[in-house]
């Protein structure tokens, strides 16, 4: 019997080896939905990590920029203490250009800054002063002069009295201030308050009839976005920007009649009474007093209370409206790279980047007498979506510190708002951001 059994075992083992059967297509959708939902905590952790990295980098960059300016001040102070202190009092802020021959390590430190000063601002006294080991310093705060008095004599004498130093001081009126180049480079940071009306819409890349039908009855509403942005100037052309925005997107779903006063007829406990299909997911009612019925043909509303079972007119329910409004609010964390194309009175910037959008509010309501009547909420919305943005920014400077910004921006959402639907709806938005920025 064992041999016979082994024989039948072999028949099945060999016969079923490498056998394949294609599974039904919906299995993958179910699997993907589950693994995506389970990945969400990791996405949130990644986002938190990203925020932490951005903040850390910003802090380090801030400290670095502070150290440079402090370092320069200290270097100049050191110079003053060594050679010019008797003649210099620390109160006047008029800039004075000094050429110096100095065997000090701070010369190397300042070299990069010195390179930015145009040749006109510096007049070497002689060949000796231009030889390696010499440096030119812009002394702005630490070296002071009494206005109207010729300081060349005593100051120069004092400075030159130190061994190894040779200074040449130029008259302030002869100085060419080098386009604030050094001052400008220290204004690496800027903070801006921005706001924009936003037009939100979506397009359908699929061919299914249901999506087309649903899109046909949905209309975008003008929404808004606003927040605070801070940017760091990496160099003359590039700057990186982040911040925190609040955006509210809304759309109107037409063809859904809503009535109030249904609660006394509602015999069910707990669960929602109505489900409304939309391109962004299914709306579940959470207001037991509302009754919904589709005005046209089609099966947009799933309910046990269809027209055959319940007639809202016979029950004398109060008609509210024939449209629903879906609203999604997001907190946005953008990471934007800006490239300055034109550096004139009105700067032009190319703007591109991504934004992490965290869902903070999801509501569905209808309007009655100018007020909102709550219906429910959209199920299965992704808590986190990622959007890419591309835009052109115009920046008009009122002053060295203040500027007006205008940024038409197109946004494309890389993942759909709803993780449950397998529809091919791709949301996008367009907004014109405007605001004021302050450099520091």
């Amino acid at each position: 019997m064992d041999e016979k059994g082994a024989n039948i075992d072999l028949v099945f083992r060999n016969g079923l080896k490498d056998f394949e059967v294609l599974p039904p297509p919906e299995v993958w959708d179910n699997i993907h939905f589950v693994i995506k939902r389970k990945q969400r905590p990791f996405i949130l952790l990644r986002t938190a990590a990203l925020i932490a990295v951005v903040l850390s980098m910003s802090f380090l960059a801030y400290r670095w920029s502070r150290e440079i300016s402090t370092g320069l001040d200290s270097a100049v102070m050191a110079l003053n203490e060594e050679s010019a202190s008797p003649e210099i009092s620390p109160s006047v802020d008029k800039p004075l250009y000094v050429t110096a021959k100095k065997n000090s390590s701070l010369i190397n430190f300042s070299k990069s800054l010195i390179e930015n000063i145009p040749d006109k601002a510096i007049e070497p006294e002689n060949e000796e002063t231009t030889s390696p080991g010499e440096a030119y310093f812009q002394v702005t705060k630490s070296i002071t002069m009494n206005k109207g008095k010729p300081l060349h004599g005593p100051l120069l004498a004092s400075l030159n009295s130190s061994p190894g130093n040779t200074f040449n001081i130029k008259e302030p009126d002869q100085q060419y201030l080098p386009g604030n180049s050094i001052t400008k480079s220290t204004d690496r940071w800027s903070i801006a308050a921005m706001a924009s009306p936003t037009y939100y819409s979506s397009f359908n890349s699929g061919n299914d009839e249901l999506s087309k039908q649903l899109m046909g009855s949905e209309q975008s509403l003008i929404s808004y976005t606003g927040g605070v942005a801070f940017s760091y100037k990496i160099n003359k052309r590039f700057s990186i920007q982040s911040g925190l925005y609040y955006s509210s997107l809304a759309q109107e779903v037409s063809g859904i009649n809503s009535f109030a006063g249904f609660q006394k007829y509602d015999n069910t406990k707990g669960n929602h009474n109505f489900e409304v299909l939309t391109t962004n997911g299914t709306v579940y009612t959470n207001n037991a007093d509302v009754f919904l019925i589709a005005s046209g043909s089609g099966e947009r509303i799933l309910t046990n209370y269809n027209n055959d079972v319940f007639d809202p007119n016979k029950a004398s329910l109060q008609y509210i409206n024939n449209t629903l409004r879906q609203n999604f609010s997001y907190l946005e964390l953008p990471i934007i790279l800006r490239y300055k194309v034109v550096d004139k009175m009105i700067d032009l910037n190319l703007i591109g980047g991504v934004a992490y959008n965290m869902l903070v509010n999801n509501s569905v309501y209808t309007m009655v007498d100018g007020g909102k009547y709550s219906i429910g909420e959209t199920e299965g919305l992704n808590l986190l979506t990622v959007s890419s943005s591309l835009g052109m920014g115009m920046e008009y400077s009122f002053s060295d510190k203040l500027s007006l910004n205008l940024e038409p921006t197109f946004r494309y959402y890389l993942n759909p708002f709803n993780g449950m639907t397998s529809s091919k709806i791709h949301p996008y938005s367009f907004g014109i951001f405007s605001g004021v920025s302050y450099k520091f």
């Binding site: 019997m1 041999e3 016979k4 059994g5 024989n7 039948i8 075992d9 028949v11 099945f12 083992r13 016969g15 079923l16 490498d18 056998f19 394949e20 059967v21 294609l22 599974p23 039904p24 299995v27 993958w28 179910n30 699997i31 993907h32 589950v34 693994i35 995506k36 389970k38 990945q39 990791f42 996405i43």
Partner: protein
């Protein structure tokens, strides 16, 4: 880096395309296994779905040692086993006394006419306990000792179930072969 490693890394990074690629490459083979362990298509779909979710969740533990396909197969079989354990009390095992002995000597039977689909159908007609033990012993190669622990039965019951499963299978194979012969002879 091999292609499968790239796909696995992509899956670990949450890349949907790689996840789908991994699924598409192996789903058909694993679904055949699921069908082999289940009495109906719904159950097979459940096993495949849960099995793949476990595969994605446990990819991080895969050490790239041994066959990746074998690793996935073990997860799928274990998922089938879990389903079986959870439904164990719901199944009624046919009384073996009512099952007639095979009408032909298996050694002399001609299995050549049976294809994989026939064999799958035959194996799915087995009562769940017999099917599980037969699959684990004859297809997966586990010993009765191992099966007794996996299915939570005694070794004796495992042997008995296997023996009964073989009897049923031999009978079914005989009848399938006979039917096929009759069809081919017109």
């Amino acid at each position: 880096m091999s292609e499968i490693k790239k796909i696995i890394n992509g899956c670990l990074n949450g890349n949907r395309r790689d996840q789908e690629l991994l699924y598409r490459r192996h789903a058909a083979k694993l679904y055949a296994i699921c069908l082999q362990y289940s009495g109906n298509d719904d159950e097979a779909r459940d096993i495949l779905q849960d099995g793949f979710i476990k595969i994605f969740e446990n990819l991080v533990h895969y050490k790239h040692e041994g066959s990746f396909e074998g690793w996935m197969r073990r997860i799928t079989v274990n998922t089938a086993l879990e389903k079986f354990r959870s439904r164990h009390n719901l199944y009624r095992v046919d009384d073996i006394d009512q099952i007639p002995e095979p009408d032909a000597d298996p050694d002399n039977q001609d299995y050549a006419g049976l294809d994989a689909e026939d064999l799958l159908n035959i194996i799915r007609e087995l009562p769940p306990k017999y099917r599980m033990v037969f699959n684990l012993f004859a297809i997966e190669g586990y010993s009765h000792n191992e099966i007794s622990k996996m299915v939570n039965i005694s070794e004796g019951t495992s042997k008995s179930n296997l023996s009964r499963a073989r009897v049923i299978l031999q009978r079914r194979v005989g009848s399938y072969t006979g039917i096929k012969k009759r069809i081919s002879n017109g």
